[in-house]
């Protein structure tokens, strides 16, 4: 029998506001433990939450970008459960009236378009962090993260392969980065993803029993964990076993999922409206205003790049796959209006430099110096090869391209007399090729051009060299 996986993803995204959701503590990663804290985010007796205005705006932007509806009336609820990283032992969240519902995201997997429905988007506060020192009977609590604004984005079970999930996550992350509301850095925990997966025979409509997968630390891990879990569930079913509804943890080292051994309690979160926060309203005009403030999203940019610059979809996809890259491209275009040439440089040599360190700033690369390099190549001042070595030098030292050309004497030799001199020298030691050409072997010309280039240390202008050579050989 053939089986298919049915996958739904629950993504938590930290919003990149200056302060936490309900207090004025800095919302930043990497501070010393328990230093970004105050009575409110510690849930100290007597403290009260007051919502950060930016949080609702950011959340609404995401909801609109994901094509969801936005409620006109927004309230918060308390979700009650005990955990040492949860200072009040309840989490301020949204229960029966999430900020947004009925969204979707269109993705393309292996050329096939798919629409993934997004069930709900709601706001809540993040918990603190627990550290479990090995070999001790204790855990340590750091509340720096407690109260960070968190957006929960829940998809419908519309994903039907681990690759679907991977593409959905990548596109979601890209959209969030374009909106500028989150770093979406899984390593820092600013994006976290849990996955629900069940399997069923192809053609069956009824859903199978699902398992919830946790502890994946990268999009790749999500994909591999889903691949593993799909195989595991199919194998169980084929062996005549039943799938148990449970939470399973992904073990990165063992590349397998494992049932959480501790018995889980039935969830009874006792939600009720948060009495400390009066409700919030969005008028239709508010929503319109927020929609207007949305930046161009990845899909729109892709379409524009294809339509305005005549790019193939593949090249355009590479350019928009990183907001900084696409912004850089457009900044270059303003200085030097040659979209294809800039794109070729970016997708080719620039991206290979960027690979290890995805920041233009760290590479000392500005639109000014990249377009300068391109124009040096295009106007024949330097060779294409020399252009690439200038780029490498810029990335290394940050020196202006002009300076590098001067210092390394990379200027192309276009001077006819100088080139003629080289050609004579080359002709003198390659008599055979000269004869071959005379005998009608066109290939010989290319060889001789190569020799001229070599002799000139790569600096000869190849086009002029070729013309001069052809002229010289005619003489013989």
């Amino acid at each position: 029998m053939e089986y298919e996986p049915v996958i739904g993803l629950e993504v938590h995204v930290q919003l990149k506001t200056k302060t936490k959701a309900f207090c004025g503590c800095a919302n930043e990663f990497g501070s010393k433990e328990n230093s970004n804290i105050c009575p409110v985010c510690l849930g100290l007796p007597g403290s009260l939450p007051v919502l950060n205005s930016q949080v609702l705006v950011s959340a609404a932007k995401v909801a609109l970008a994901l094509n969801g509806t936005i409620r006109n009336f927004i309230k918060f609820d308390r979700k009650n459960y005990f955990y040492p990283d949860l200072p009040k032992n309840f989490q301020i969240s949204q229960f029966d009236m999430p900020l947004s519902e009925h969204g979707y995201m269109d993705i393309k997997v292996d050329g096939q378009a798919k629409r993934i429905a997004i069930k709900r988007v709601h706001l809540e506060e993040d918990a603190g962090k627990l550290i479990h020192p090995e070999g001790t009977a204790c855990s340590l609590v750091d509340f720096n993260r407690a109260g960070t604004p968190l957006l929960e984005i829940v998809s419908e079970p519309d994903l039907h392969s681990p690759e679907d999930a991977y593409v959905y996550l990548s596109d979601l992350k890209l959209a969030l980065q374009y909106i500028g509301v989150s770093d979406c850095d899984m390593e820092k925990g600013s994006l976290r993803c849990d996955a629900n997966i069940s399997v069923r025979p192809v053609g069956q409509i009824k859903l199978g029993t699902k398992a919830e997968l946790k502890n994946m630390n990268s999009f790749k891990a999500v994909r591999t964990a889903l691949e593993f879990e799909f195989k595991r569930q199919v194998k169980s079913l084929e062996a005549g076993e039943r799938i148990v509804q449970e939470t399973r943890l992904w073990d990165e080292k063992k590349e397998a999922t494992f049932s959480m051994r501790s018995k889980e309690e039935a969830h009874d979160y006792r939600y009720f409206p948060e009495p400390d926060l009066p409700p919030f309203t969005f008028t239709d005009a508010d929503i319109k205003g927020i929609r207007k403030s949305l930046p161009e999203l990845p899909k729109e940019r892709l379409g524009r790049f294809v339509a305005s610059f005549g790019f193939g979809e593949k090249d355009a996809a590479v350019l928009i796959s990183d907001k900084e890259l696409a912004d850089f491209f457009e900044a270059c275009l303003k200085i030097y209006n040659e979209p294809k040439k800039i794109a070729n440089w970016l997708i080719g040599p620039v991206l290979s430099h960027l690979k290890s360190n995805l920041s233009f700033e760290a590479l000392h690369l500005s639109p000014e110096n990249l377009t300068k390099i391109i124009s040096l190549v295009e106007d024949g001042t330097v060779s294409n090869l020399a252009g690439k070595s200038i780029l490498a030098e810029v990335v290394e030292t940050g020196k202006p391209p002009d300076t590098i050309v001067r210092e390394k004497n990379l200027g192309q030799v276009s001077d006819v007399d100088e080139l003629k001199k080289i050609i004579e020298e080359v002709a003198a030691v390659n008599m055979r090729s000269v004869d071959d050409y005379a005998a009608g072997k066109e290939n010989a010309l290319m060889f001789l051009v190569g020799q001229v280039m070599r002799k000139s240390g790569g600096k000869a202008n190849p086009k002029i060299a070729r013309d001069l050579l052809a002229e010289r050989l005619k003489k013989t």
Binding site: I37, N52, P84, C138, L140, P275
Partner: protein
């Protein structure tokens, strides 16, 4: 309204409240009589009433996204029953 000992234990566990057996029975009785009294609310026709979560008609109370100074951690940690360095310390959380 009668409620069972099991219900009291279930509730006590949700509330992380350790109860001795005698207390379970004691609270079962008292809870039953209070819930019996509360049952009078069933007489009220509330079919057309919207639940009132906030008595005041105020909305949209925000704080600006401006950083304020945090509290001195020592001021908070001095109250901790158990700590290690600048961390609060608890019995091991089983993951």
């Amino acid at each position: 309204m009668a409620i069972s000992k099991e219900e009291v234990k279930y509730i006590a566990n949700l509330a992380r409240l350790g109860l001795a057996e005698a207390e379970v029975e004691h609270f079962r009785e008292q809870l039953g009589s209070i819930l019996g009294y509360i049952d009078k609310l069933k007489k009220v026709d509330v079919s057309k009433i919207i639940p009132m979560a906030h008595v005041l008609d105020i909305k949209n109370v925000y704080r600006q996204d401006t950083v304020l100074p945090s509290i001195d951690p020592q001021k908070v940690l001095q109250n901790a029953p158990s700590r290690e360095g600048q961390f609060f310390k608890v019995p091991k959380v089983i993951e």
